[in-house]
Structure formats: C-alpha cells, structure tokens
C-alpha cells in the first residue's frame, strides 16, 4: 500500500479526465487544497463539475481554474469573492447550483456514508425546494436532498501519517472531512507527513480508509480578510 507521492502532479496521475466531478475541501481560502488545484490547472483537465463551498478568489484557490475555463459547473453555497466567477456566470459560460452550506456539507457526508438521500427542513418554502420531494414528518415539512459521490476528492490537512490518517488544524478542517469521504478516490495534500505511530490514534480526525493518496508540500495559506485589534496600553 503506497499512498505517499512526491508531487501533487504525481498524486493525481491517472485520476483526471475531462467532464469529471471533483469535490474540494476548504472554506473561503482556509484549508483549501491549493497544490492539487494548481496541479489540475497544469494538467488542463476541463469541463469539470466542482462541489466546493466557495470558488476561491480571482487569482487563488479554485479561482485559477476559472481563469483557464476548466470548470463547467460549480456546486457552492457562496461565491461572492470572485469577479471572474460572476462574469462567467452572467455570460452563461459557467453553470451554478447553489446549495445551502449545511446541505452541501451533509450531501458530501451522506454520499461518503452510503446514504443516497436525506430529508432536511433547510430551504423548505424557498427556491431551493423547487422540484424536490417534500415529506411531512411529525407535522413538519422536509425536502429530499441527494448524497454526493464525486469521482475525485481533493483535500488539505495539517498532518498525515503514511497510511493516510489525517489531522487538521483549527478552522482549516471545515469541508475537508466530508469532501474526502464523498470521493471514489481521495487525494490529500498536507503540511507534514509523519512516521506511522507518531499521531495519537485517539486524535485522528479522518481515518486513512478515506484517503488514497497523500502529498506533502509548502502552502501559501493566503488570508482573505485580515482583521486585528490593537494591544491595550499596559
């Protein structure tokens, strides 16, 4: 079982094809698989459908795959930070499916858990419910949402061991575990690959069964909104 690859490009070798469906972890620019996204850009794979909470910014994250017109459709909850996204969407070049954030996360989790659909009250009575089955449980309406199974998951973690057990850091965990779970194949990029036995088995966030390939790299980790406070005078 060899899971560790030397570069993001090698980790993706044989996994990419035009028209494929990719699930990506990350929230805003936090915890995004930036090296794998860059490798997909370099591979030139096109007509992609990408499920990701956001679509990066113009020049970073998934935004770089918009610049190269490699994405055909996005499944997201919020895309407000990206001018090129709006331009392509308004001109009809890019298809967009809005999912409420929790519905998107649960669709990924469910898909990875063998659950093809689930009922949720999120979006009942809104445009999100249009065309979806409504079922009443205990007097409350719920809509049917489908689980997502992606051809490929790309995620970012803090540390991995060589068996693919992953540990995330702070709020960079976000969509990465559910995105990882819903892929037929999952590639994880990490800041550090540590020897097996050095991660506390009680503190593994995502077991290696979900992770098929791992690559270690250096991350830019760009901050989207730098907010600070002043130190009070002593």
């Amino acid at each position: 079982m060899k899971k560790v690859y030397a570069t993001a490009a090698e980790a993706l070798e044989g996994l990419l094809h035009d028209g494929m469906f990719i699930a990506a972890g990350g929230f805003g620019l936090c915890g995004i698989p930036e090296l794998l996204i860059a490798a997909i850009r370099d591979a030139g794979t096109k007509d992609l459908t990408v499920a990701s909470n956001n679509c990066g910014v113009d020049d970073f994250g998934l935004g770089i795959l918009l610049q190269t017109r490699q994405i055909r459709k996005m499944i997201s909850s919020y895309v407000g930070e990206n001018a090129e996204f709006m331009r392509q969407y308004l001109s009809g070049e890019l298809e967009l499916e809005f999912n409420p954030q929790g519905t998107l996360a649960e669709r990924m989790r469910a898909g990875g858990c063998g659950i093809p659909g689930f009922y949720t009250k999120t979006g009942v009575g809104t445009v999100i419910a249009e065309g979806k089955e409504v079922k009443t449980f205990d007097g409350q309406d719920y809509i049917l949402e489908r689980g997502i199974v992606a051809d490929l998951s790309i995620v970012k973690a803090w540390k991995a061991d060589d068996t693919g057990n992953l540990v995330f850091r702070k709020t960079a965990r976000n969509f990465n575990p559910p995105a990882a779970m819903c892929g037929k194949v999952c590639v994880a990029e990490v800041e550090e690959i540590v020897p097996r036995g050095s991660l506390d088995p009680d503190l593994i966030h995502l077991p290696g069964i979900y992770v098929h390939r791992i690559v270690q790299g250096t991350h830019e980790k760009r901050i989207e909104q730098r907010t600070t406070r002043k130190k009070e005078a002593a």
Binding site: N53, G80, Q101, A105, R109, T122, T126, K170, T171, T227
Partner: protein, 208 residues
Amino acid sequence: MPWDRNQMAARAAQELEDGMYVNLGIGIPTLVANYVGDKDITLQSENGMLGMGPFPYEGEEDPDLINAGKQTITELNRTAYFDSATSFGMIRGGKIAAAILGAMEVAENGDLANWMIPGKLVKGMGGAMDLVAGVGRVIVVMDHTNKAGESKVLRECTLPLTGKGVVDRIITNLGVLDVVPGGLRIVECADGVTQDELRAATEATIVS
C-alpha cells in the same frame, strides 16, 4: 431618537441568556458580542468552531483560524473545532439556542429574505438557510426602513425567501416586535420613538 447600530446590538444582547450557544451573523449582529457583559455565552462560527474569540493582535493572525465572514479571529480556553457537516448538524439539530441575523425584508408571518435580490449579483445563501431552519430562536436585527424610507417590515416578502415562518423577534432602529399569530406585536419602542411612529414605519399588520 431611533437606536443607532450599537444600541440595536446592545438591545439584541439582552436576548441572550447565561449558558447559551449562539450564532451571530455579519454586520450589526457581529457587534452583539461587545454587549454580552458577564453572561456566559458561547459563540458558534458555522465554518467549524464553538467558542469564538476576538480578533487577533496585529502580527498574530493565523490563516487556519477564521470566522464565517472569513476574518481572522482567535480561540478561547473553551474552544472546540469540528468539520462543516458536524457544524451544521448542531445547527439543523436545534442545538444552537439562537441566531441573530441581518435581513433585507421580514414579513408578519415570520418569513425572512436576506440572501438575494433578483437582477443583482447573487452571491449565495451561505449558511443562512440552515441557520434559520434549525436554531432554537431567530432574532433579526436590521433598519426598520430602506434608504428610500420604505418599510422592510412587510405583510409579505417581495424578495426570494431565506426561510418561511422562521423569525421570532425583530429588533430595528425603531423598536422590538414579535411574530405572533395574526401579525406582529410591539414589544417596545426605541428611546424617544412613539408607538405611532413605529406603526407608521411598519407595513406589516400590528396586533395589539
């Protein structure tokens, strides 16, 4: 004098009780955190955190630690991190006691619109639809009227909905209203605002 942003936030903070887990939206709701005083309130950030702390000191920003508005923040000694599916599990599952959110329109039946204006750029609903459907109590904080002076407290929403019949209480610059059977009930008026002024600025049915 109607309430200003900080007074609205201070009034909204009175809604919070000791021990509550709360989600604050972007804008005026974010200011509510400044007014909780001695109450033991745990703030949830839906990108995967309970126990959200203040902004970091300059130079101590951590790209792995942001809130749902993508701003750099800090952790507290009570903080817990989790993934997005778990985060919305606690939201959808009714574990979050209250959400305090901004709005474009609220209707007398509790309908809420705060995510899109047709014909304008659509950014997405983010977590707002999940929050209003799931949390125990939805409190809206917003200006009572728009820039043109038209009421934002309506008989029916005109904009696409974020949630249907989800709002419990509305706090505006003019006062506080509750969603009750048949319409809205005035809870209180802002300092120096009369009931007549509040009614005149409200399109929705007010029941006494």
